[in-house]
Symmetry: C2
Subunit: 115 residues, 2 copies
């Protein structure tokens, strides 16, 4: 599984934006969600999660707000910004193109020629 580290490269921000785009959420819950949805294949570590969230906030794709529920630990809840929505769309498309390019090479297909 250690190989998935490299496969993950560059995709973690996309995954985080995806999850946050559905509903505002805090870091720990986002990681748990990614973990569960991928059936534990994609494991977001803490040393990756928090710096990634900070970078996304710095770039303006998400905004964080502290929430202090009664009788619970403080959480920083992140919400997707408008710019973040656009960024997610861009990244989703980039992923699609990339995955399709991978299949093209692995499947031995030649690029499509216009008629």
């Amino acid at each position: 599984m250690s190989e998935d580290r490299d496969l993950l490269r560059g995709n973690i921000p996309t995954l985080i934006l995806s999850v946050v785009s559905e509903a505002p959420s805090h870091g720990f819950a986002i990681a748990r969600e990614i973990n569960q949805r991928s059936d534990n294949l994609l494991q977001l570590k803490q040393g990756t999660l928090y710096p990634a969230l900070h970078a996304l906030e710095r770039d303006g794709w998400i905004t964080g707000a502290w929430e202090i529920p009664d009788a619970e630990r403080p959480r920083k809840v992140y919400t997707l910004t408008e710019a973040g929505k656009t960024e997610l769309e861009r990244r989703t498309q980039a992923w699609g193109k990339f995955a399709s390019a991978m299949e093209s090479v692995m499947g031995g297909k030649r690029r499509e020629q216009p008629i």
Copy 2:
């Protein structure tokens, strides 16, 4: 396009093994092939290509042999080994699982539950 650098991470050896598995080929041609099949989306740079080939040879997945055609530059032609064939299968499966996990997270799907 600069973002595809990160997406490529960890997939380059798989792409190289894929191309070589179809027919023995030399470095420069392998890169050209990947480039063309992906419609120039996946660009294998020389600073990536040659070290990657050396690593694959070191690990025993491919073997290189110098070929000196008449009136042409010498080339190092790489062939997939038996172990390399297994490795390629393993990597192809890993890619499939990873891509499907990505889709699961991005699509908001929950992991399938047994009945």
